[in-house]
């Protein structure tokens, strides 16, 4: 690869392309029909991922599940990144009791393990699609919010911001003109890095039975169904859907990591 900027761009394009392809494939293809003459086939040419106990093509189910997961992941990570930006900057800009309250809230949410918190929120919404969506969206902001708050607090002490304040620039302008643009690289990278987490947690909570209903072809549903068939040696039911999920997620994790390095001024020129 020629240089890091080009390879990062390529990676981002690849991730975006994969995203669109999977979403299109998931949206366009018809529901995998049950065909009992084709049931329990190990992977072959006609069914690269094999078929399940109802004779449904696992490739189609995986793509449909992944497409749903990606849409959910995008939505939830966008919501939690926005929440993190709002709370992080408010905490740093307003200071005083607002800062204490937000820090307390961050500590509070971080004190409960993600899975448990998502389970609780999902219960509050009566499980299902909205339960898992809200659960993932409302539990992922604290880490990013803490990073952004720390950054913004440090920034407040920066000489050029002190100067701007002394020269009478109002807080609102300092916030939108100086602080937020400075936080954007962190925010973008945080957003992309949160995306895989969101997908993984969505799959995990669905796997536990608190998420999407069994008739939805979500990855978590597919994997938890496959558990019942593991002991009879149908490994393909768990292996391929999981691998596709892992590949998608790691593509995004990698792209986010590269973007973070590139956007941070200290490491951009390496």
């Amino acid at each position: 690869m020629k240089n890091r900027r080009q390879s990062t761009l390529l990676l981002l394009l690849l991730a975006g392309g994969a995203l669109c392809a999977v979403m299109l494939a998931g949206a366009l293809q018809p529901d995998a029909a049950a065909d009992f003459s084709q049931k329990n086939l190990p992977p072959c040419l006609a069914h690269p991922f094999g078929t399940d106990w109802l004779g449904r093509d696992m490739l189609g189910r995986t793509l449909a599940g992944l497409s749903l997961s990606i849409r959910l992941g995008l939505l939830t990570s966008a919501v939690s990144a926005a929440a993190a930006l709002a709370l992080g900057t408010a905490s740093a800009a307003l200071g005083g009791w607002v800062d204490s309250a937000i820090s307390w809230l961050i500590d509070l949410v971080m004190g409960v393990p993600h899975i448990l918190l998502i389970m609780l929120i999902s219960l509050a919404c009566g499980r299902g699609f909205w339960g898992v969506t809200l659960g993932v969206a409302l539990s992922h902001w604290p880490a990013l919010a803490r990073v952004l708050r720390g950054e913004a607090l440090q920034l407040r002490q920066a000489p050029y911001l002190q100067m701007a304040r002394r020269m009478g620039v109002p807080w609102g302008r300092v916030l939108t003109g100086h602080i937020v643009p400075h936080l954007l690289p962190q925010l973008w990278a945080g957003l992309i890095l949160q995306f895989p987490h969101a997908i993984l947690h969505e799959a995990s909570v669905t796997f536990l039975g608190f998420g999407l209903p069994p008739e939805e072809p979500a990855i978590g549903v597919i994997l938890s169904e496959s558990m019942a068939y593991l002991t009879t040696g149908r490994w393909w039911l768990a292996l391929f859907p999981g691998l596709t999920l892992a590949a998608t997620v790691s593509l995004f994790a990698l792209a986010g990591e590269r973007l973070r390095l590139l956007l941070a001024p200290a490491s951009a020129q390496e």
Binding site: W104, D107, L108, M110, G111, V112, P113, H114, I115, L116, M119, L120, I121, L123, A124, C125, G126, R127, P196, L200, A203, S204, F207, L208, G209, F210, L223, S226, M227, L230, T231, G233, W235, A238, L239, G242, L245, A246, V249, S250, A253, L254, E257
Partner: protein, 326 residues
């Protein structure tokens, strides 16, 4: 010494407030749940064939007719006296259930905690010290892959390979089926796969963060100066010391994720621990138990961060002196 005590006292008060917040939040969330405990546990068909008196009796048992504020306050009152209520599913005191489940989980959690910390720190140091070369690439590639796989799927894979194909390790549970009194060796054999799954997922995260810190430290001016002076053993004398602080933070912060991971892993391996109890309590609308588990888990996490805060002073002389000077 007085400032240490003061610091600890302040942290303890904060922890108590946070626990109160966690219990209230968890209670409100559970209270907001539209799922009817009767419907989930008794079933529509059974409810239809019951007399209104029986239904009223069940409603009283599941506490469906008491106002929320009253329920929370009475729960809080007895919780302060050390009584977390009675589990509705297990029909035993919540503390007893949690104690029993936690003692099963604790081995798993402790092993995974130590193993993931040691492994993560070692791999992170290895990768950071060899930045850009093949050990770095290898460690980072593996860690990124592992951290992009769901913990439960990793468990499933290990299960397929070791329990179904190779048949060298048991497929689940904490003791052999119908085994009565299990020996320590058997318990270890059953804890091996879940423990391994948890350790691998934990170690990947710690290794990636440690690597970043090591790279930061190696880029610093004092390392450049040390190199210019021709110092050797830079890794041991400078890097390790400066990485110790974030490593401790990471290690204690990983408790929360570890418990979260154990919820999944215990479900995969049918390991009768705390995580599995949390899932069945959640699915069965057993509010006292779920509330109890949430509070106990949060207490463990906050206790971890308190320990980390106290350890900072012991590790870093600057923090110790800074606190004394105030």
């Amino acid at each position: 010494m007085s400032h240490r005590l003061q610091f600890t006292a302040k942290k303890l008060v904060r922890m108590a407030l946070l626990l109160l917040g966690v219990s209230l939040t968890a209670f409100l969330l559970m209270n907001a749940s539209p799922l009817d405990p009767l419907q989930t546990n008794v079933g529509q068909a059974a409810l239809g064939s019951m007399s209104p008196e029986q239904i009223a009796k069940l409603e009283e048992y599941w506490g469906a007719d008491t106002p929320a504020a009253e329920r929370y306050l009475s729960w809080l009152g007895s919780a302060l006296r050390g009584d977390l209520g009675v589990s509705l599913l297990y029909r035993r005191p919540v503390l007893e259930v949690i104690g029993q489940r936690l003692s099963t989980s604790l081995w798993l959690l402790a092993c995974a905690w130590v193993l993931s910390g040691a492994l993560g720190l070692g791999l992170g140091l290895l990768a950071g010290a060899n930045r850009g070369r093949w050990p770095d690439r290898l460690v980072r590639g593996c860690c990124l892959t592992v951290s992009s796989t769901p913990a439960f799927w990793l468990g499933l894979l290990l299960l397929i390979v070791f329990a179904v194909w190779l048949k060298i390790l048991p497929i689940g549970m904490a003791v052999p089926i119908g085994g009565g009194q299990a020996t320590l060796l058997e318990r270890l054999r059953h804890a091996l796969l879940p423990g391994l799954t948890l350790s691998i997922t934990g170690a990947a995260n710690i290794a990636l963060h440690t690597r970043e810190k090591v790279v930061d430290v190696l880029d610093s001016d004092y390392i450049l100066f040390a190199r210019a002076r021709g110092e050797r053993h830079i890794l041991r004398r400078h890097v390790l010391r400066n990485v110790a602080l974030p490593a401790v933070t990471l290690q204690f912060a990983s408790i929360g994720e570890l418990i979260g991971g154990s919820v999944l892993v215990e479900q995969v391996f049918s390991y009768p621990g705390l995580g599995q109890a949390a899932v069945s309590a959640g699915l069965g609308s057993d509010m006292p138990l779920l509330l109890g588990i949430t509070v106990v888990t949060a207490a463990l996490v906050f206790g971890g961060s308190l320990t980390a805060d106290l350890l900072y002073g012991a590790i870093d002389p600057r923090i110790r002196k800074g606190a004394a000077a105030q």
